[in-house]
Subunit: 187 residues, 2 copies
DNA sequence: TAAGTCATGTAAAAAGTTACATGATTCT
DNA sequence: AGAATCATGTAACTTTTTACATGACTTA
């Protein structure tokens, strides 16, 4: 089973969702930890259905197109628990901007600075967004955040990862842009 | 052109390499910013050759198998500069462990703690390695590190990214493991 | 003698992205 | 009137990983 399958099961373990909802969740909800296109999700749901790890229910809607609501089955929950306990292979970080840093010495100074300033801005925005969500959670769900058995705590945990990741990224971009900008002119 | 093509060109811009060397570099050298399997690299080098962005030279060796030494061409350098100046789309972070954090509330407490402690250890090791390399560079190449036009500075910059990434990762793993471990027993 | 390094490739499978395709409703 | 949202799917393509394949030399 692919990691996407577990991403879907993990989301369905909290509440039933349609394929469309799942795509939205994996994209926007809390920190986006395993984004996938809908064209990837629909076939995967079909596979999960064949394996009886999820069930479907047709939901008629008047104002909007009908949808299929998928729910996790006991077998699906068992599969999720098995995956959770299994060892996880760390992923290598694959970031095109880091690669550009590796090649930056060849580039045009102003263009390099602009590139890193732009990403500093972008990640700063994401950081601000995550921080706002975290602040809201801390106010609203105080109790749940001290209970690791609650899905809310789990969401908060992924959010914290997003926050520290973005914070670190912003700092690195700024450091690099400052270095390139501040050093004496080319000889 | 794929990002891998630019990863290869960026490495060849520093010095000629064989396919084998490139695979090693992308894996081990400084922080691994764009790892690729050799089975991916060899065909890509052939494509670069067809586009005249790199050139080859056969190098006979007595003690080891012969190798092909690839070098970047002026056209290759131009392509690299173009790519450097082009906007970079930020990648979404795709980390299976973050996904497991999202699902952690369903798991076995001891298994979850063990999982995150294990990754804390693993990333702490990487961090220590990167920090050692950085310390060595700071001693050895003082001057080059204040000159953004030197490839050494660029290597140092990617290394700094690796260091702050790993440091952040370690802290998050520890925080999560502490939370799960320290909270009152299941109700 | 077994494992590890150096060296280059092909083939197949899996994972992920982009484009194609449709259609109703709601908001600007 | 046009864009955005909701909703589901298929097809094609690109990217990435894993397995297959070979072979010499070196080190434990």
């Amino acid at each position: 089973m692919s990691t996407l399958a577990f991403a879907l099961l993990a989301t369905l373990a909290r509440a039933p969702h349609s394929g469309y909802d799942l795509a939205q969740r994996l994209k926007h909800d809390v920190a986006p930890f395993w984004h996938a296109a809908h064209s990837h999700i629909y076939p995967e749901l079909t596979r999960l259905l064949e394996q009886h790890l999820v069930s479907v229910e047709h939901v008629a809607q008047d104002d909007r197109p009908d949808k299929k609501r998928y729910a996790i089955t006991p077998a699906g929950r068992a599969a999720l628990r098995g995956w959770l306990a299994a060892p996880t292979r760390p992923r290598v970080l694959r970031d095109e901007l880091v690669l550009k840093a590796y090649a930056a010495w060849m580039g045009d100074r102003a263009a390099v600075v602009a590139q890193f300033r732009e990403h500093e801005r972008l990640h700063r925005e994401r950081l601000a967004h995550y921080e706002a969500v975290a602040a809201r959670m801390e106010q609203q769900y105080q109790h749940a955040l001290t209970n690791w058995r609650s899905p809310t705590f789990a969401s908060y945990a992924t959010l914290r990862r997003g926050i520290s990741f973005e914070r670190e990224y912003v700092a690195w971009c700024r450091w690099l842009a400052d270095q390139v900008e501040g050093q004496p002119a080319d000889v």
